[in-house]
Structure formats: C-alpha cells, structure tokens
Symmetry: C2
Subunit: 418 residues, 2 copies
Amino acid sequence: MDVKAYMQQVGVQARAASAAIAKADSGLKNKALQAIATAIENSREVLIAANQNDMRRGQENGLDAALLDRLELTPARIDAMLEGLHQVTALPDPVGGMTDLDYRPSGIQVGKMRVPLGVIGIIYESRPNVTIEAASLCLKSGNAAILRGGSEAIESNQALAVCIREGLEVAGLSEFTVQVIETTDRAAVGELITMSEYVDVVVPRGGKGLIERISKDAKVTVIKHLDGICHVYIDDDADMSKAVNIAINAKTHRNGTCNTMETLLVAESVAQKALPQLATAYAEFKVELRGCEKTKAILASVIEATEEDWGTEYLGPVLSIKVVADMAEAIKHINKYGSHHTDSIISENYTKAREFLRQVDSSSVMVNASTRFADGFEYGLGAEIGISTDKIHARGPVGLDGLTSQKWIVLGDGHIRH
Amino acid sequence: MDVKAYMQQVGVQARAASAAIAKADSGLKNKALQAIATAIENSREVLIAANQNDMRRGQENGLDAALLDRLELTPARIDAMLEGLHQVTALPDPVGGMTDLDYRPSGIQVGKMRVPLGVIGIIYESRPNVTIEAASLCLKSGNAAILRGGSEAIESNQALAVCIREGLEVAGLSEFTVQVIETTDRAAVGELITMSEYVDVVVPRGGKGLIERISKDAKVTVIKHLDGICHVYIDDDADMSKAVNIAINAKTHRNGTCNTMETLLVAESVAQKALPQLATAYAEFKVELRGCEKTKAILASVIEATEEDWGTEYLGPVLSIKVVADMAEAIKHINKYGSHHTDSIISENYTKAREFLRQVDSSSVMVNASTRFADGFEYGLGAEIGISTDKIHARGPVGLDGLTSQKWIVLGDGHIRH
C-alpha cells in the first residue's frame, strides 16, 4: 500500500465530508449517533470476535498485562460505549449558536456564531472505546474525523468502523464523515499530522512520548496534553480537616490519572500539625512519601526528594512533599515545576484565594477542592476529547466547544461604511 | 553580535517580565500607557530626527515612494499614536475577568478566568506607529512583547523604545515588559519564531510573502492573516438599491485594504438589471472590471476573467465579476476561491440569509452590509492587532481578547471527588 497516496485520499474525502457535516442539523447528527449505537448493539459478537483476535495477537507479541487490559472489549465495555453514545446524543448542539449580537454605532449588528473546526485527526493507543468516543464527539460538533488507533487494536477498530459507517448511512451522511485508518503503518501518522491542507487540528491521546513526537513533527495545530504534575498547597490559613480530606483524595482517589496530585506543598506554619496526620493516612493507602529537608525534619522516615522529583509525574502511589515559607513560594514552585494542568490551594483566607486563582498559570486553578475534579464530566462539558495544557485555543478539559471555533456575523440593512 | 545568544536573552527577559505584567492591575497598566504617551509627547523632536535618519537612508537605498510614505513619522502621525494610547487606556481590562461561574451537582462552582497568553512576538514592516500600537495592546492584555519592526525603521523604532521604557519605569514595571529588537539581522526573526520556550504566540503583520515564510518555519503558534479575497453576492431577492450601494462601497471605499471586495457574484436572474448600473458607477471610480462569459454577454466591454482572477487579491481598482445560477453556486465559489476573510450576501430573503450565514466558512459573514465593516473598531473591539483568517484560537479581527486565553477556576469548600 502506498501510505502517502492512501492518506491523501483519506484527507480529500474528509475535507469533502466536512462541508456536509458542518451544515447538518442536530436531528440528523443525533440520528447518526443513535444508528451507530444500534449497529454496535447488533454487532456485539462480531466486535468481541475481532477483539479476541487482537487480544490473541497481543499475547503472542508479549504485550504486558496493563496494555492487554486496556485493549480488551468486554460486554460491560460495549455497554459503556453505548451509554457514551446516548450521552453525546443528549448534549446540546454547539454548532450554529449565535451570541453577543450587539448593535454598533454604525447601525450594523455584530455577533458570533459557533462553527466546527473542519477535519480533526485523533491519534490514540490501545483502547478501542476511544474510537467511538472520538467519533461521537467529532460528529456532534460538526467535524469530520480521521481516527488512528493503536496497531494492536486494528481488528477491533475496523469492526467498530463498520458500525460507524452503518450509522452514518442510516442518517444519510457520507461514510467519509468518520474514517478509521486501515493501515497500521506508522508512516500514516506522519502524513496525518503534516497534511495541513486536509486536517485542521490533531488531538494525540496517549503517553508523553507519543505526544512529544507528534508535537515536534506536526504542521497541523495540536491540542495536546503533556503531563499532569498537579499540586495541592496547604496554606497557613487552611481548615485542617478540609486540607487532609483533599490531600488524601487528590492523591489516592485514583492513581495514574493526570489530575492526581503529584506534589503536596505545605506552609511552614502548619507543617508540624498537618504532616503527621497526613503521613498516617497515606500509610494506609501505601503511598510512598518523598520529602524536602524540612519535611524530613518532621517525618523522619520519608525518603529525601531530589530535584527530579518536583518535575515527575509518578502516575502511581508516590507523593513528593515540600514545606514552603508562604503562598508566594508555593506559587513560584507550581509555576516552575508544574505542568500547567491543575493546582489547588486550601485556605480560608479570601485575599490569598483570589491571588492564588489569578497568579497560578495552570489550565485549572482551584480553591478548597480536590484536583481530581479537573474533568470534562465534572465541569459539565458532558464529555471530553482530552485535557489541554496549552494556552492557545482550548485550555483544560476540551469538550464539544473546544472542537469548534467562532466566526463573526454582521447583520445590516444596506449599511455601507463612511 | 551573536544573534542567537541575544535573542535567547531577550526571550529569558520577556518570560520573566510576563509573570509580573500578568498580575499587574489595570491602574498600573494604564499608568504605564499614559506615561508612554507623555514620553512620546516630550520626545517629538528626537523621534522626528531619528525618523529623518531612517528616511534619508531609505531614499539612498532606493525605497519606493509608497514604502517611504509608510515609514515617515509626521507630527500628525505622532498625534495619532498618542490618540491610540489614550484609546487603549480607556478600553476595559480583559485580564482576570471571571465568567460562567455555575454550580455543579457535586457542589463545586466552576467557571473561567481570562488570562494573558504570556509572551507575544510581533513582526511587522516599515510603519513605526505599529511599535506603539502593538506595545500598547500587549501591555493592556497583560502580555510581555517582543517587537521586531522593519530594518528600514530601526532608528525610529529604537527612539520609540526609549519612550516605552521610560513609561514602563514610571509605572514601576520591568523594562523587559516590551522589548524592541535592536538588531536588523534577519536571523533574529528566525530565532523569535522558533524559541517556543520563551514565546507563546507570534503575530506577523505585513505582506503575504512575509507571513507565508513565517508560518512555514514557525515552531510557535502564529496568528496570521494571509489574504483578503472578499466577496459580495447579490442574490435573486436583493433590494437593488442596497446591492448597488454596498457593491460600490465594498470595492471603492478604500483600495488596498484586506476587507475590500475583490470578486462580485451576481445571481443570474438579476444580472441583467444589476450589472449595467454597477458598471456605470464603477467607471466613475475607474475600477477595471474582469468578468465571466455571462458577465461579458451583458457588459461587452469588460476584460475576460481567467481562473487566476478568482483567487487574486488585487489590492487595487480591479474587480472580478461572476454571474452564478443561485446562492448554492455562490457559496461554493466563495468557499473554494475565497480566503475565509469576509463575505456578504445582499438579499431580503430570510431563509437564504440564514443559510448563507451558516454555510460560508469565513471569519466574517455578513448580510446586507459592506465587507469594509470587518474591522476591530467597527466590531467594537476598540483596537485590533490583526485580522486572523485561521480557525484556531482567534478568527477575524483580533483585539485584546484575542491576546488572552481562558483558564478554568473551581471554587469549593472542602470538596472531594467520590
């Protein structure tokens, strides 16, 4: 297969389909989403059989257990896919919404209309359910999609692609509205991220290595999320019971998610009071603690944190702890070592809460709440395609709105400029 | 001079200054803007002398008359700079504004806060007044700026840089908040657009060649405006007097601006009525007409338009005219040949107006209004740093808001995730 020619054709087809899906009304898009759900419901056996082939090949190729777990399609995971499709169907359609239509002194009325971005490329790893999640979000937001899953999931993804095409056909939409790349050749990714004529945005979902590689080589705008080095800062004026609850929740509610706290900062004036009770609680959850010198002076048993610890996303039951002089030092530490993802202050002090919100340069900044709340569902977006740690276009959880843009509209009545 | 080392230093200084300007309050920023105005007022003679050196060197180097005109600093142009500074001072401060603070079922309150982008690089050509315009917009939006003007204006720009530094000092802000690059070495531009560690966005302002070059090589996000191939479509259901007024205004109000109409599309059913009166009016303004076959059948004297004409931004008194079967053909033509800048339909038909607004994929879409309205001042932005024909981040006229982004804020009261 000539990968370059194949991808160019995929691109041309996507661009053509994007014009039609951009003007499709909500009813039509919802009909397609529901028809995809029906097709999946009717293809459970086929999907599981295809997935079994992927699983068998994966085992033969020696994929590790965690990867095989992510790859597996169980009946419950198919249920979750269907539930996701119903949820996206129920979300309000962002496309075409007009806002801020104000009259100007010249007499024209000026406002904005929300419009799709065009063609969105999504690059992900082993989980086949991302195929349906990404397809549904792009479809609902009026974009054409080019999906490229992990090579280990190729048969599962192609079986899902059949269901997607079936649903599109039922709604009378072009089969090229959502295309799932058929080759596992890595060169396809290189094409996808550089054919800016046909692709408007690329969203890589996966490990840091994948995302760094894509960002480096992309000629297309990338909505990316590198890492989640999130902080909780326990201020001098913290309510200690809130502080302990949040510090425990932010670290232990789930390991391995990007909004999990990796570094705890504690104001010196309350460290003596806070750290021992936290250490007891973390011990229950088997969290390994690594601390600065001042932390070690209070908790003798903790491992000494190195410079590297402050910039590490552990994605596991490890926490670094630093005692800081005051909020200013905490903010400086967060802006220096953090990943601009999510950071929270625990404080009852009004002025400090306001300053922390303003000065921390992260996509989500919180007061008295667990970093674990940084999530599209929790924020009311209904679903998310990813969490952006960039500043341009979309920041933080990216939902349907993040897959759209706003154009200006001007309504006149024969107005000319003088 | 080691340009790379120099630019790295400029970048480090800008990044450091950006943290301070991001948290500066409106009063402080306005004080700096006013102090810059005072410094310019007190330096009129110095500025004009520096500009005279640039003008003399430009003449010796054989710059053409149009370029020398753009380069010249006259007392009236200095007045306009001062007026611009006062206007930006009067604009509302976008930074820190919080919106949409809604409570979620979990009990947390989620909203957004507008924040600066960080460090903005602006690359422009001969007009020295852009130095003050760009500096004031970046400053007001809480961003640090690195400005790189045309080499022909180096002395004027360095004299203005002295005034800017004076104003920043009066307000107690870092002199590195706005840096005007001191070297005319072209390698400085190459550094500026690739040092993504220190620069968040680049805005090139100038000819298409400059912008294409920069977009091609940039590693930093570019807010760019390539060309303005704007259309007016006179629909079957147009009010003919509005149509004629707008078609004349859109072409002749000013040549050479990006929101000037370059192609007129006329529905076949009204072409016989519209074209002769338009031709008479255009003749008065000495506009050269180039038409499709059907246009030539009505206006025998027009030059035949070639395929190239439909994709050309004339920036002068030339207009291409195409007779189309209906609105669908007009929209297809616009989306194919246009530059996604500004396009207007003239029609009294409600349904067609709605369809045109939705389906034309341009940064400004208008009904019964002249394309010349596509402008930051006319839209109420107060000022604009440029007009973006991209879809990502900012579309159309880019004002203070376009130089900012929104982060999420979460207000809780000890909330943890269950």
